[in-house]
């Protein structure tokens, strides 16, 4: 009863007209922003934050919640249609979304992405409502050694992706880790691999990297493919939305794991939705009866990725609102929004401004729900028309969109050239069979792994080997061993049995 009464108290304020308008407007802006490479939820909330100064705090938070949830789904639209992840979290959505679009099922892929995003966001909001105070205590137990092992666990999960060619997969991961270490090192600020370029000192922006890596190679490959280059069009194949909704039970198991990862990672400061997508995708692939179909247009891959990256939306806000520790960059901006409106994150927030903070939790739920009609009717149908554009015209459009996306990150022409360089790197990798996904994960997790490794070593003043002896570390190491050793052993046993049969 303690849980529901503050929620019920906050509900009337949430359902006022200005609030509903702010949420709908926020979701629309979020979808548009998320679908444009280079524009992220973080950036758009930050840009629009000054507009909320004069607003009622709850109306402002409703708009932010809408942008956040809208953008996390919007990122899937270009990921599916053009293989350009609109947001870092949508990288994994490209794996099966783009092949599905190439098979003429773009409409279906978008519907799965939409439903997975919406349900992921709603479940995440419920977790925030129910688990925020007790779960936030768990994060206090995660120090640098534990976060280091979480990062290593993430990289090990990539090893499962590698599948066919282990050396090439590992090499891709190392390329990602190398790109991630360019710039000033995270502890001593030593200049590493910048070759005197000031622009590189702050490191490689993940948006610049992924726009280059994922947007330019398909353009070059599409242009090379002369048979498809002129006049080829792709079918969208929208099936009735209700039919897709009826398929939801098929994805329950995948969504459950994605949900678990989303909540767990969302609680860890520094980790992000993109990491959740990788974990959820890897799990879905391992659970599948047909793992070989992943990466070739399996809708379960989209469901895992999109549910995962939305499941941490509200979860990432749990440490923000309860402890004042943002779990992600978006959470940091939203925390700024709370502070602007005189709301100090921490336990007092739940006592002194219960109507606002519980209202915000309801808004996180409602904006995910609103996503279904708005995303289904407006964005999906509108943006899916992109695939009707003839390829010779689509190629320069993607290139120009990539240019503006990379430029907008830091208003830097250097970043645009960097993006083009990564595009050529992605082309070479694609042609030589090096997977792109481990590069992206290496860049995301590299700085997290390194800084926590070095902090752990600095903390280990009494030489107690804290990286290996702390209880949570031991659990994570055990999980790591199980994840990396068991699948190949199990595969070997199955192969022997098959031969014997």
């Amino acid at each position: 009863m303690d849980l529901f009464s503050p929620l019920l108290d906050a509900l009337p304020a949430v359902l006022t007209f200005p609030n509903l308008l702010a949420m709908v407007g926020g979701v629309l802006v979020g979808i548009v922003v998320g679908s444009l490479p280079g524009l992220t939820a973080t950036m758009s909330i930050a840009v629009l934050l000054p507009l909320t100064f004069t607003m009622d705090p709850l109306v402002a938070l409703g708009m932010m919640a809408g942008i956040y949830n809208g953008a996390m789904y919007g990122g899937a639209i270009p990921a599916i249609l053009l293989r350009i992840p609109g947001t870092p979290a949508a990288i994994v959505t490209t794996f099966d979304g783009y092949p599905l679009a190439q098979q003429g099922r773009a409409g279906y892929a978008l519907q799965i992405a939409l439903l997975s995003s919406a349900f992921g966001g709603m479940m995440s909001a419920i977790a925030m409502m129910v688990l925020a105070p007790p779960l936030s205590l768990v994060t206090l137990a995660f120090g640098p050694p534990e976060v280091f092992w979480v990062g290593i666990f993430g990289m090990a999960a990539v090893a499962v992706f590698l599948g066919e060619d282990l050396p090439k997969g590992l090499l891709s991961a190392l390329i990602g880790l190398f790109i991630g270490m360019i710039g000033l090192d995270p502890v001593m600020s030593t200049d590493r691999f910048t070759f005197g370029q000031l622009e590189l000192e702050s490191g490689i922006d993940i948006v610049v990297l992924m726009v280059g890596l994922y947007a330019i190679p398909p353009c070059l490959e599409m242009a090379e493919d002369t048979a498809r280059a002129v006049g080829a069009r792709i079918r969208l194949d929208f099936q009735p939305f209700l039919k897709t909704i009826r398929e939801i039970p098929r994805y329950f198991r995948i969504w459950s794991w994605a949900y678990f990862y989303g909540i767990f990672v969302g609680l860890l400061p520094g980790a992000s939705g993109s990491f959740v997508s990788f974990l959820a995708y890897e799990r879905a692939k391992r659970m599948s009866k047909d793992p070989e179909s992943f990466g070739k247009g399996n809708p379960e891959g989209i469901a895992a990725s999109e549910f995962g990256n939305n499941a941490d939306n509200a979860a990432a806000l749990i440490p923000t609102v309860t402890l004042g520790i943002p779990g992600s960059s978006v959470a940091a901006v939203i925390m700024g929004g709370l502070l602007v409106h005189g709301l100090q994150p921490g336990p007092d927030l739940f006592r002194n401004s219960a109507d606002i903070i519980y209202g915000f939790m309801i808004q996180m739920f409602l904006t995910s729900l609103i996503l279904i009609p708005l995303g289904g009717s407006f964005a999906t149908n509108l943006f899916a028309q992109v695939l009707r554009i003839p390829r010779p015209l689509l190629i320069p459009l993607i290139i120009c969109l990539s240019i503006v996306g990379a430029y907008c990150v830091q208003n830097s022409l250097f970043d645009v050239w960097l993006m083009f360089g990564f595009g050529l790197l992605g082309y070479v990798m694609s042609k030589t069979g090096l997977p792109l996904a481990p590069v992206a994960l290496g860049v995301i997790l590299g700085p997290l792994i390194e800084s926590n490794l070095r902090l752990s070593l600095l903390l280990d003043v009494r030489n107690e080997h804290i990286l290996f002896t702390r209880p949570i570390c031991m659990v994570l190491i055990a999980l790591l061993v199980l994840t990396t050793v068991l699948p190949p052993v199990w595969k070997h046993i199955r192969a022997r049995r098959a031969r014997a049969a």
């Binding site: 030593t190 320069p396 430029y407 208003n411 030589t432 070095r454």
Partner: protein, 150 residues
């Protein structure tokens, strides 16, 4: 002329670049060099493994997969993009896009003026409304604004 397997070029290239990286990393401070070495040393080894494996595969099968499916079209798009990036500094984003989209589309074999013009105009309008008007992102200055200002 005997061709070289793609993996031999890839592996050798990675091994050489990673070795150069190690040489550079050895010049960093004691703490700052640890992680780069943990990454680059295995990269050298993996590069060599991939190169040797590619060489053995080529000897066994005699296959040398083509790298480019169509070198001319690759050069067209890569060169066109590079020119657009150069133009960006001098012409501005909207002008560069207004030139790049139709020129590349025609060069790639699409010859229907109306869809090209309509798509280009639609793209420029979208960028102008979303990036410039709504989000106030400062894109590279257009040449006409600089000419008008001087």
């Amino acid at each position: 002329m005997k061709s070289i397997h793609n993996d031999v070029v890839l592996g050798t290239g990675v091994a050489v670049l990673a070795a150069l990286g190690i040489h550079r990393a050895l010049g960093f401070g004691a703490d700052a060099r640890v992680f780069p070495l943990l990454v680059l040393v295995p990269a050298v080894l993996l590069g060599l493994v991939i190169a040797v494996r590619g060489h053995l595969k080529q000897r066994r099968t005699g296959e040398t997969p083509d790298f480019f499916a169509s070198p001319g079209r690759f050069a067209l798009v890569a060169g066109g993009t590079a020119l657009a990036l150069i133009g960006l500094r001098y012409l501005g984003f909207l002008t560069t896009s207004a030139v790049t989209i139709p020129v590349l589309a025609v060069a790639l074999g699409y010859r229907r003026p109306l869809p090209i013009l309509a798509t280009t105009a639609g793209f420029l309008a979208m960028v102008y409304i979303v990036f410039i008007q709504i989000l106030s992102r400062p894109l590279p200055a257009e040449i006409w604004t600089r000419l008008g200002g001087s």
